[in-house]
Symmetry: C2
Subunit: 453 residues, 2 copies
């Protein structure tokens, strides 16, 4: 089934207008900020629920605050293909990250509805209430409810600084809250986890009419869902460089995050000769140069970033005695990622030894690479080829709800070009000329997958 | 005139005991903190004044709170050779930085007094009330009163961040407050400069019975003083490495301090390939490696330090878009220092250009190198050779009251080994076995200079 060019353009224009409408539902008057279980979250759910209904779906808000719609199959009660993304945002966000995927999914269903087309599988669309973790700093609450695969120990496991993973994740904003409701993996302790104002998740739920005792009811039975597709902006520059509107995700990058520390000896910046220093910052600088060079040479799909660095005592006239810095390495395959990390840490130790300083590191976050399902990739690639002549397969550098869903069901992702790869920023932008073919490809892949079953 | 070994040991033991006694005069019960115009400052002055009196000196506290003693010459009213150092401390300080010089000067006079020896020149001993600038963050208030050479513009000149030099100096603790009273270079604006509690210098003076209208009266006439000697701990490791107790200072290093900034482009740590990054921290790291290597290779007497570094936005999962860092370069001669600084800044520009990022720098502090007087150096070196067999000439990496005094009178400095060069820290330590020959050499140099005239 194929959406015509004029249908696609009209639908794309509606998607863009709806992204604008949702962007106005913000806790701030300037910029866009919409967090989990806030009044704005409920207003966005209501809005999206109406659009779902208009597209022919039965609509409900589930027990963790995800907004859900079901477009029934040819035979009522059939398993569903799940389409979705998230409706929450970081602070001062762009308007496409997450929302584009939810609204595109609704357009897919709307086209089927307008063409009175029922498939062997039901299509369900979900707008997850929290992926970004902006409010509570805990993650994947939605989808892992079913699999129970989020280890409880992560939540209370302290790092070298006594910071729990939950806190560290909050610090760095790694979170996929809404999707964990679907998989049923909310540990009980999360319910009492407070936000920045000391309000717990349980209280926040009660404030919006949800009952934290019913979280388990959000969990979906494995046999009721056959797979999950997510359309998302790329949040990177690769499609733009290839001059393509669309690409198919091969894997969501695995990541390792470490707190690292060089400990040398503070000293007077005027009196200690260069040859007698144990300058922790000079050691860190040498390592950072190595990190950049080695990662660049090793594999173009690997990235390594030192995103934070602080030095103590931190005075203009004192040689730094201690430097704390973070290391974030990512890649689509776990083995090369592990090899890179090992090379970098070995070199840090060698630099420290040669300079007579200490090096320590503490891994506080690790997530394996998430492979996308090959059958879903094939369907998406076929659809993309039909629409834009050729397809591009690429890894996703950012995390998505699909990570949680993949614990239980096959997942596939369709990427849409975004300008200069700018995301999590008001300058985030997507062209309507790219959304139109994205909707054509998405519909085609959905009907291919849901028509087959 | 020569102090015998047993006399020197007894005097050195008294110096050590007096350092301990002064270390107990602190605003904190743990550690040593004694700031300008505090109750502890006045108690220390009283204590030192009594010791001066017992050593045969006429004692007074001057109009800016320096404690002064005069040991009259063979003929009353003769010009004086000034000996001194400071009695104030940084926070959580060691007990020798400053105090050792004041107490050693008193021992020199005491020996002359006990041997009923009067010289052609008077000997005056001064304990400056503020060198460290811990309280007000403004500097050299004592000695520059006479010369008026402290530019008023420095006090209000803002750096790139809108921070005035006064504030910046406070931030980094560069200060020589008491000595400016002697030279009479207090600008009027300093009187109203508040401390961290909003108390101005004028108020603080009034609180301890001093009149800020009388600051000018602290200024000494040029013809009344022939020169200035200061004994001080080295605050560096050079004497220890040479296995020598004593050394003679050739110059107090000049310094340049700059706020520097690399501005690149923040980006998602997972989605931007290594080859497409404009990572401000990676640029800074490359520059820091160059700074260390080049300074080390260029001249063993030059030092360069990056003591502070902060990166924005500063999240584990975001490529740093902006890095601010400080650069502090020092050396005993202005020309090589200027050449080094120019080389470093040129390279920063080249790194920035190649990486497509911006580099800016703003010099917020500059002090020329202060040469020690050659005749005073010769007298000190001769004395040191007599006492320890050979002398070592070395620059001072740290600033001292002598910088201010040198604007108006010849200065010389005698350095005493301190363990591992640790200073501005409770672990600061000096051996009585080093203080004894220091007192012998100091007396010999003083009598050589003051006996000659």
């Amino acid at each position: 089934m194929m959406m015509s060019a004029s249908e696609a353009l009209a639908a794309a224009q509606r998607v863009m207008a709806r992204c604008d409408a949702l962007a106005a539902i913000s806790e701030t008057t300037e910029g866009l900020t919409r967090v989990y279980l806030s009044p704005e979250h409920l207003r966005a759910n209501a809005c999206v629920g109406e659009w779902m209904q208009a597209a022919g779906m039965t609509v409900w808000q589930d027990e963790v605050g995800n907004i859900c719609g079901r477009y029934e199959a040819a035979e009522a009660g059939a398993p569903a293909l799940l389409l979705g993304s998230h409706l929450d945002t970081v602070r001062n966000a762009g308007r496409y990250d997450g929302m584009l995927g939810v609204l595109s999914a609704i357009e897919t269903v709307q086209w089927l509805h307008e063409h009175q087309c029922r498939l062997p599988l039901a299509i369900e669309v979900i707008g997850f209430g929290d992926e970004e973790g902006t409010r509570f700093g805990i993650t994947l609450l939605g989808s892992r409810g079913i699999t129970g695969s989020w280890p409880q120990s992560w939540v209370t496991h302290p790092d070298g600084n006594g910071i729990t993973v939950a806190q560290a994740m909050a610090d760095v904003g790694i979170t996929l809250l809404g999707s964990r409701g679907i998989t049923g993996s909310w540990p009980q302790s999360w319910v009492t986890h407070p936000d920045g104002n000391g309000i717990t998740v349980a209280q926040a739920m009660a404030d919006v009419g949800l009952d934290s005792a019913q979280i388990g009811a959000a969990a979906r039975r494995i046999e009721d869902i056959v797979g999950y597709l997510e359309l998302h902006i790329e949040q990177g520059p690769c499609l733009e460089q290839e001059d393509l509107a669309l690409g198919v995700v091969t894997a969501i990058n695995g990541a390792r995050r470490l707190h690292c520390r060089f400990t040398g000896e503070a000293g007077h910046a005027g009196t200690v000769p260069m040859t007698h220093r144990k300058d922790a910052l000079a050691a860190a600088a040498e390592w950072m140069v190595f990190i950049e060079q080695t990662t660049r040479e090793q594999d173009p799909q690997l990235v390594a970033t030192v995103g934070t660095l602080s030095c103590a005592p931190g005075a203009v006239n004192v040689i730094p005695g201690e430097v704390s810095l973070s290391l974030d390495v990512r890649g689509p395959l776990d083995h090369p990622l592990e090899t890179l990390l090992s090379t970098l840490l070995t070199q840090a130790g060698a630099i420290a030894l040669r300079r007579g300083v200490q090096f320590t590191s503490n891994e506080f976050y690790r997530i394996g690479a998430t492979a996308c399902d090959s059958a879903l990739q094939q369907a998406l690639s076929h659809a993309v080829e039909t629409v834009q002549g050729r397809s591009l397969s690429l890894p996703s550098g950012a995390g998505h709800d699909a990570i949680a869903i993949a614990e239980r069901w096959p997942v596939g992702m369709l990427f849409v070009r975004n300008h200069r790869g700018i995301s999590h920023h008001p300058a985030e932008s997507v062209a309507v000329q790219d959304v139109a073919p994205a909707l054509q490809a998405y519909l085609q892949a959905v009907t291919l997958i849901a028509g087959r079953s």
